[in-house]
Amino acid sequence: MNEAARKPLGRFVPLVVFAALVAFFVVGLVWNQSHDARFVPSPLIDKPAPDFRLPRLERPTEFVTKADLLGKPYLINVFASWCFACGDEHPVLMAYRDKFGIPLVGYDYKDAPQDARAWLQRHGDPYHEVITDQSGDTAIDFGVYGAPETYLIDAQGIIRYKHIGPLTPEVIAKELEPKIRALEQGT
């Protein structure tokens, strides 16, 4: 550690390294202000949505598959009656269901059908269609890990956008709406 006597600049190395570290912390703090660390970007963006075959909430003997929904873009909103944040999100969905311009499919996640039905009856049903996944196995294929989550899927069945956590008017205006419009122009 002696060579610094010859070139004292070496003594500044710890200071410079530390300054770089502080700079990273500043960036990290700023990043933290605008991001939620819980939300991990999905690797499925721009990949085909997984195949699924799930029963309708209202008519459990009828199944909806991925193929049934091909042909036009649609939204999948993962919700559950036990999910607190879904209650926060619900009024937003009620207000926006007709403004999206594309169908909104409810995905009832690990929930008892009667609970989900009661929940929708009490709060209102914003969905054009509700499918149920009681086991949650299909949800793993979608990479669901916390309700609510919202997927935008295009006419070819490709996932174009995913939002984790409750949709807010801000998120819809800034992120979701432009993506939907882009899809509509594309087709």
Binding site: P43, G136, Y145
Partner: protein
């Protein structure tokens, strides 16, 4: 460690992990001890996406339970650890791996330590060469050498 209570404070805020008891006890019917060990080792190296400070092995979140079950089933089907990891990564990204694979974004992570070691070793070699020059009289401590 303090991580436990920090984790719980965070968990209490999130109301996701907090409802469940702390310990993830999950009696799965393993075929033998080796499979149990393999399962414990594998899930210990995977991150729970919900309670993000816990491994899939330790977390009692519903999500972790379900994934443990899935991984167990895949093991029964004879899938290898790599296949299981790939399956998870395809759905949840490499974030789920506590062992980040070597990629352009992790080069600095994996080669940072060897680089620091080399630099440090270089400095030490320079120091030792200077201080151990034969021309310098070596001062030996006489008597009780302590």
């Amino acid at each position: 460690m303090r991580h436990s209570w920090l984790r719980w404070i965070v968990a209490a805020i999130l109301m996701i992990c907090a409802i469940a008891p702390a310990v993830a006890i999950d009696p799965l019917p393993f075929q033998n001890e080796a499979q149990r060990d393999r399962f414990q080792h594998l899930t210990g190296e995977l991150r729970c996406m919900v309670c993000q400070d816990e491994s899939l092995l330790a977390s009692n979140a519903d999500f972790a339970k379900q994934l443990r079950r899935q991984i167990f089933d895949m093991m029964q089907q004879g899938k290898s650890d790599k296949e299981i990891k790939d399956w998870l990564v395809a759905r949840y990204s490499t974030f789920i791996l506590y062992d980040p694979p070597l990629a352009p974004s992790t080069i600095a992570l994996w080669f940072g330590t060897p680089a620091i070691l080399l630099i440090g070793a270089g400095v030490v070699v320079v120091l030792l060469r200077r201080r151990t020059r034969p021309s310098n009289a070596i001062a030996e401590e006489p008597g009780d050498d302590w």
